[in-house]
Subunit: 226 residues, 4 copies
């Protein structure tokens, strides 16, 4: 069942094998339900070796989170051209994101489901990554807002914050919503056969960009007085 038993590998290689196995098991069973026994077996290695290299279940899980977080952000970064217009950057980033989550469902489960559910220590680890992404999205939103400056309602105000209707908290909320929607769609795309990364990205772009566009146009939805 486990990996083919190859003996005497250099440490670095074995460590990757172990992380592979761990991500798989943690992603499928959950942090607590995962047993070090199973992880070792899937890694094709004895349990003591796992401890020798990775110290403890906690450390192993942290290592998984870090590796997967790094892989995900790297994938997104690699998909984006830094100097493209904001909508293009978002589109590219989302495609990269959905592609990666579709190709690494266990890693995505580790990040999105498991890490946030098993203690602040682990949660903090993902939060760091998430904040990086939220910051990236926030920047895109602001860039888009700046691009929309010629709009009459905005033209007049040349300072910062760009728009009184877009205070910091509001922008943070928008970014949060967008990221949350993306995360949800990733699960949905993985669970719904026939939905490609491209389609998921298109759906979200439609949803978000058109919405944000209107926002920038100064036509925000306004709550009833109630």
């Amino acid at each position: 069942m486990g990996a083919v038993k190859t003996k005497r590998m250099p440490r670095a290689v074995r460590e990757q094998q172990m992380l592979d196995a761990a991500v798989r098991i943690f992603g499928r069973r959950g942090y607590m339900a995962a047993s070090m026994d199973e992880i070792a077996e899937v890694a094709g290695v004895s349990k003591p070796l796992v401890y020798l290299y990775l110290n403890s279940k906690e450390d192993l899980f942290t290592a998984c989170i870090r590796r997967e977080a790094h892989a995900l952000t790297a994938a997104v970064r690699a998909g984006v051209e830094p100097h493209a217009p904001a909508d293009r950057q978002l589109w590219d980033g989302l495609r990269a994101f959905f592609t990666h989550t579709a190709q690494h469902p266990d890693g995505w489960a580790v990040l999105h489901l498991q890490a946030r559910t098993h203690g602040d220590v682990f949660a903090a680890e993902v939060t760091a990554m998430r904040e990086e992404i939220v910051a990236f999205v926030t920047q895109l939103i602001l860039a888009a807002a700046r691009a929309a400056l010629p709009h009459p309602r905005l033209r007049s105000c040349g300072g910062t914050p760009i728009d009184p209707d877009l205070p910091e908290t509001e922008v943070a909320g928008l970014a949060e919503a967008l990221v949350g929607a993306a995360e949800s769609l990733a699960d949905w795309a993985n669970a719904t056969p026939g939905v490609t990364a491209r389609q998921a990205a298109a759906t979200l772009m439609n949803f978000a960009w058109a919405g944000l566009g209107n926002l920038m146009d100064g036509r925000p939805w306004s709550p009833p007085v109630s």
Copy 2:
């Protein structure tokens, strides 16, 4: 510690005490880390009684999920006027949703974090609720689309799906995105001091309604040819 020890309560009351305790512990510790011992203690009851009434840890957790799911959907339903216009319904529903999740953080944690992380059996339980909400949102989207029917591009088509540009999967994706964004914002609002349910709802309405509005207007964002 735990509930005051009162003897000989009617079964229904005792059961609620147990579920209260269980939701609290499951929500805070997670399904696996929660111990029946602690739950019984917090409930102010002996462990065998918990088993007598609720059978097993699994059943207890399921009961928690059901109760909290029911409470949440009931709260949302209670907040919405069925015959109001779609945007009003969405606005009311979101406010009810954010209010409830803010007031029942442990219940929300059970539904949003724990139930989805510990096996398909539990996940299915939330999925049912989620689908109900997604269906509700889907309906609102379609209602909005219908309301936009006078629009030239849509007028001509009288069947279902209403619009060739809005096939079923697309609408499902949009609803999914909206719900996902709402879920994320609930966490964000709970974690960010000073963000009220109303603000969270407004943020999401801005984000979503304006976007959907544009969509209905036939100005969808279109992906670059790449």
Copy 3:
């Protein structure tokens, strides 16, 4: 092999059974080599019950030390008449001591061998008891010194310390030596067939009270007829 399996005992009884087993195993195997498994088996009980009642191996060992220390000091105290002359008190105390250590070899091993060898926490536990005994002996030595006051060289000094030749550290050293000798003789008596508690006590009285020098002078201390 273990105790007869009797079910459903009140907690206090079971706890004593567990301590009995633990003292036996700890005394024979040593703290670290003793396994909770074996202790549970010898106690005729499942392992979880041991943990339920006594928390951890450490706590269990501490409980053993305390119980045995208490039993030993109680035995010595019970053997001594508080108002008898010093030599009589010493004689009685030693007999009680050697009798007890002979009858509870495992308890004695726990106190004398194991507790002192496995970490300061445990050592401190015995040290408390030992200091009590050393204090008792110190008192006897001082009492004897006072009784010897009529001696010309001592008569003249009526203050404290009674004798410039017996400063505090010196007396402490003497008491330490006596107690150490007693401890050693307890092991020796247990290991040497045919040596009774009475003989061990007599040997030590001779050694300590009369001194080897006096012994040579043919004036050995002789035990009262009792």
Copy 4:
């Protein structure tokens, strides 16, 4: 940390380094708590080399005991002049003993604490050494007795045992007591700041040679000026 890593040492040297490390670790952590890993690290050597040279943990511990036992008896022997009077021999021997134990606390811990606590095999090893010392002390006691022969009560008996009041067991007990007192005082002196080897020896000489009774008579044994 650990010894400086020097490569390619002759076997004998390496072995001593290992024993040094082992005595230190065994003395401080105890036999069972000591790990071969730590010993190897402190010795500045890889674990397989330890096994290559010393076979097993058991053998390593035995080697430690032997080396330390030998060192201790050698130190005592070196301190004693074989043809001096008995009291002088005892005095010198004790001083050498207390000096050595003070200078080699880890070795002393191995002999006095660890070796006796972890199984008969090791205990036997120390017992051998102890018996040698007890025999030496026994001889001194007998020598002293012979020196006291002119005493009326002893003169008449020319056989062995020299004195009906000093049968073999009795003498053995006295020697045992003296050795036990010495061992205890060694611990006490090591633990009590400001107590020198000389003072410990004097205390024990007073105690043993003169006896508490004589002490009270104001005739304490006094160390030669040396």
